[in-house]
């Protein structure tokens, strides 16, 4: 299985001289299975160039696993050219929205309505299939198996695990380590803490011993203090989860739009310097980064 990063930025695309090395496109990650099938994690602006590549490829079918429907994870979809081609087949996977009471198909169609985009979802020519997943669903897609788990973000978000011939990848989508809403002397503090432990334990169980753990690390620790509840993790919290899941390699992604290339270089160097001997190898995601899991 091979993994390639097409978009590594969080929140909003951020092109410019200070982001040119790591890249300014929002989340999109391509997995190529051993048999050559394509599974895509999220459809941020990075999916546009991926679409151009896929259009030239022989493979006519792909899966797009949507972690959640915030803009930076779906905004590239109207520019994903395989959707316009009648000989293509695209399978979308994602959650039902409990607040809007709408499924993925309705929500994705909404961003192609008249005032947002000139072409309606109904006019897309590819064979489109939408699959609403409940948590823990097991999907067989060609030679891979896709499972999911609920993460913690201000909208319902799934993390995905893909297994193929004994190799595995976990993608967190957006995730903030759950925070106890009670003070330590409140009656419900202990109960809530246990619920958090159970939830984190469940995520780590799904991600257990993955070969590649791709996780949201938008903030630094001091930034998180100002941005609690915004739904993102830090480099430290991401590493802690990877350790707990016994991941074999970690990639930090969903970089803050204001994070410069130089800052990411410094953060990367610091992480390497502080790396414990039994820690998995760590990488900071960049557009074009390719990882071959063998």
């Amino acid at each position: 299985m091979k993994v390639r990063f097409w978009g590594v930025r969080g929140s909003i695309a951020s092109p410019g001289p200070s982001t040119v090395r790591y890249g300014g496109n929002t989340t999109c990650i391509e997995l190529t299975t051993d048999a050559g099938h394509t599974i895509i994690f999220d459809a941020g602006t990075g999916i546009r160039p991926l679409g151009l590549k896929l259009l030239a490829a022989e493979q006519k079918k792909c899966a797009v696993c949507i972690s959640h429907t915030h803009w930076d994870h779906i905004q590239g979809l109207p520019f994903f050219v395989p959707l316009f081609s009648a000989d293509r087949e695209v399978h979308f996977y994602g959650a039902f929205d409990p607040v809007y009471q709408k499924d993925l198909e309705s929500i994705l169609a909404q961003q192609m309505e008249y005032c947002y985009f000139p072409i309606r979802a109904l006019e897309l020519k590819a064979k489109l299939h939408y699959h609403t997943l409940h948590e823990g669903a097991r999907i067989e897609f060609e030679d891979a198996v896709i499972t999911n788990v609920m993460m913690n973000h201000p909208v319902l978000t799934y993390g995905y695990r893909v297994d193929c011939n004994g190799k595995s990848v976990f993608f967190s989508g957006d995730h903030e380590p759950p925070h106890n809403i009670y003070d330590s002397d409140d009656t419900f503090y202990g109960e809530y803490d246990q619920l958090i432990q159970d939830k984190v334990g469940r995520i780590c169980e799904v991600a257990n011993e993955v070969d590649l753990f791709i996780i949201d690390a938008q903030y630094t620790e001091p930034e998180l203090l100002q941005k609690r509840g915004w739904g993102h993790g830090t480099f430290s919290s991401a590493l802690a989860m990877a350790r707990r899941a016994k991941a074999k390699k970690v990639v930090f992604t969903h970089h803050d739009p204001s994070r410069t290339d130089d800052q990411l270089d410094r953060i990367g160097a610091k992480l390497q310097a502080q790396r414990r001997s039994n820690d998995p190898p760590m990488l900071i995601a960049a557009e074009g980064l390719e990882i071959d899991l063998g």
Partner: protein, 289 residues
Amino acid sequence: MAVSSELLELCDRMPAFPASVQRVIALTSDINSSPKQLVKVIDHDPVLTIKILKVANSAYFGLSRPIVSINHAVVYLGLNTVKHVALAIAAIGSLPRNNEAGFDMDDYLLHSLTSAVLARSLAHKMSVPEAEAANYFVAGLLHDIGQVVFAQFKPKAFQETLNEAKNSGQPLHEIERRILGSDHAELGAVLCEKWSFPEPLVAAIRMHHTPGIRASGNPLRSCLFVGNLLAARISQPVNAPTAFDENILPPWVFRTFGNDFDSIIESMVGLQTDLKQATSLLSVGGGSL
């Protein structure tokens, strides 16, 4: 007795209590409000609670174990999702203050909250693990939800039922069966069943007027059954079960919890504080309730 499917469908559109709706709107408009304040408003309102548990337990999420507490729903679905579900419920409107049925919402809420605190406290007496005790509070809070459904959607017939109960002194649920075709316990249970709540909770609500054979069969049912009677003893609201002869109760009630109702109540450590805390939202701006 059958509960009409039409009545169950209507429950999807059932509004919450006026004071809770106001608080949800106020708290969600204030970016600095604390999440635990919002959770407290939700988990002290039977309608908000049952509807958020409905979402959390819906088939869309395929839970391996059902969610019974609001804290669990918040950790599972995320705070923002619960907040927006609460707002969507608030957007439906409020239960009318002066309803056609003449149903006293203040009494109903006081009885539900008192039963909730007592059921939780009885759970402690039965050495139920702390993590499960929250389920007992929810059972107490929700056990009479069927009465709110009748008041909202069958107001005329429920008014007749309430009047007859008051005048005859007969138990409300027996008159409900005759006039409305089913009673509030059955209606609440069917609603919880439809929304995939755990079986012990459904059974506890369905049987909250009927003692089981032994305490340990379904401890939730046992604690709710006794909690409901004790709540009536404490607050004596109009809609709560009227005088229940302690002598005809099965022996497990007293073997498990104490010699008689008064001594059970006296033996509950911190009960008054807990009751005060649980019902505190009733008095804040009480005029709007």
